[in-house]
């Protein structure tokens, strides 16, 4: 897969009240870009705009794939809440995209993905019988099932315990290899662990922070990671 980069540049307002401006966000083609910024600055709004979803805000600027192709149909969006259908089993949730498009779902592929996220034994369960971390893994499998080039992740791991979060980061990194990923996170450690590019946004601009030089996903003790995390933390506090 050769996933394209994506450029998001411009400003947005809510009925005349400015939300953000001077934003220039370039997603690494086939890599991970992490977006940080204080709560309410407009990160989710940006993700939804790239995904072509309603935001209630007016946007002026450009949103385009680096290969000039249309974005529609190439983007998968994983929101902070898992959005699993409560009436559907794990397997049905993972294959909902095909059913929604009136296509035949590739059940073998679905089962393989469910197994890859470690839920082979739970494929017939409904979401209420899963833990938060397991539900998040189903949502990840559903996102992968869509097989899109551009993946938007809105704080997908923030509600998980430290150990599950670390496991999910590694799993997601592994399974999303080669895709263009935009990860919104409040956790400098997460950004420093996974990012090829780190972008901090304020309401008036975007600033890049230097990611570690070592290949992702970085080990927790990696001195490069710790330094990047410290740099990022300083930056977040001064912006």
């Amino acid at each position: 897969m050769s996933a394209p980069g994506v450029r998001f540049a411009g400003s947005a307002d809510h009925a005349g009240a400015p939300l953000f401006s001077g934003i220039a966000l370039d997603l690494v083609a086939g890599g991970w870009t992490c977006l940080l910024g204080v709560s309410g600055v407009g990160k989710t709004t940006i993700l939804r705009m790239i995904a072509g979803l309603e935001t209630g805000a007016t946007f002026t600027g450009t949103i385009e794939a680096a290969d000039r192709g249309a974005l529609e149909g190439r983007v998968a969006y994983m929101a902070q809440s898992d959005l699993l259908l409560p009436w559907a089993t794990v397997r049905e949730n993972v294959t909902i995209g095909a059913r929604l498009r009136g296509e035949r779902a590739d059940m073998a592929r679905a089962d393989r993905l469910v197994a890859e996220v470690g839920l082979a034994d739970h494929a017939g369960r409904k979401p209420h019988a899963l833990s938060g971390g397991q539900r998040q893994r189903v949502a990840l499998a559903r996102t992968l099932m869509e097989d899109r080039e551009i993946i938007l992740l809105d704080e997908p791991f923030s509600a998980l315990d430290a150990r599950t979060r670390a496991e999910m980061q590694e799993l997601a990194y592994d399974l999303l290899k080669g895709r263009t990923v935009l990860l919104v996170t409040h956790d400098p450690g997460e950004a420093a662990r996974l990012a090829d590019r780190i972008v901090v946004m304020t309401e008036a601009r975007t600033v890049e922070a230097e990611p570690p030089n070592t290949p992702a996903p970085r080990a927790f003790g990696d001195p490069e990671l710790l330094q990047a995390q410290a740099r990022l933390m300083t930056m977040l506090r001064s912006e």
Binding site: L83, L85, P86, G97, L100, G102
Partner: protein, 248 residues
């Protein structure tokens, strides 16, 4: 079990009060028959009551089926199409504003003294609650599910079918439970206006002949029928929903 015992207790108290009123005052029997007499009459007229119960039960069941199907179809049409909403909403509100009882004589005129007019009454009385409960459910799909469907490239009709309808089933369940309470009212009013069968008819007949004990017996049978119907619909919808959307 506790609820059952509580209900039994309340029933016994009511029967005791009833008996007390009858024995302490001298209300004539044709105004208020004592409970024991009603029970005697009830037992003596088992076959007659059963025959009329069957008629009323058929009216209610068919009314529920037809009214349920029409309500479900209307709600889906309203949810699917803006045009349907604009044109049919006023019609729906009008049919609801019109007292359905006022239509009973016309329905009897058009559909005759048989089952048809009673089923139509039951259908009319439950149509609106079912339609509005299901429609509200269809319009309240969690927005995250709709976003998901959108990014997955779903059409409007498949979003309706795979997301909005399943998400609205609990709301439809409440509508059906409400309908189970209303449907007997429609059937009995239909019978009062013109019929030759059914518990409502039997009540009027007994009343006209001053057989108050038989009237009470018919009334109790109607009460039991309604409660049984409600419990059945309640149990079926809840059991089914628990399987469909566990934890909801």
């Amino acid at each position: 079990m506790n609820r059952f015992l509580g209900g039994l207790f309340a029933l016994l108290i009511a029967l005791g009060l009833w008996q007390a009123i009858v024995s302490l005052s001298d209300v004539p029997r044709f105004i208020l028959p004592p409970p024991a007499l009603v029970f005697e009459t009830w037992m003596a007229n088992r076959a007659l009551l059963a025959e009329h119960t069957l008629v009323t039960a058929t009216e209610i069941a068919l009314g529920l089926l037809i009214g349920g199907a029409l309500g479900i179809a209307t709600a889906m049409a309203l949810a699917a199409s803006e045009i349907a909403r604009v044109t049919m909403r006023p019609v729906l509100v009008f049919t609801q504003a019109l007292p359905v009882f006022a239509l009973a004589p016309i329905l009897t005129l058009w559909l005759g003294f048989g089952l048809g007019s009673k089923i139509a009454m039951a259908v009319l009385i439950i149509y609106f609650p079912i339609t509005s409960a299901f429609f509200d459910g269809l319009m309240r799909t969690p927005s995250g599910f709709l976003d998901l469907a959108r990014t997955m490239g779903a059409s409007r009709s498949s979003t309706l079918w795979h997301i909005r309808v399943p998400a609205a089933l609990p709301a439809l369940g409440s509508g059906l439970r409400l309908a189970a309470v209303y449907a007997p009212i429609g059937a009995v009013i239909g019978e009062w206006v013109g019929s030759s069968q059914g518990l409502g008819y039997l009540m009027l007949l007994a009343n006209g002949r001053a057989k108050t004990d038989l009237m009470f017996a018919a009334l109790f049978t109607l009460g039991l029928l309604s409660i049984a119907l409600y419990l059945a619909v309640n149990w079926i919808t809840l059991a089914w929903l628990r399987r469909h959307t566990p934890g909801a």
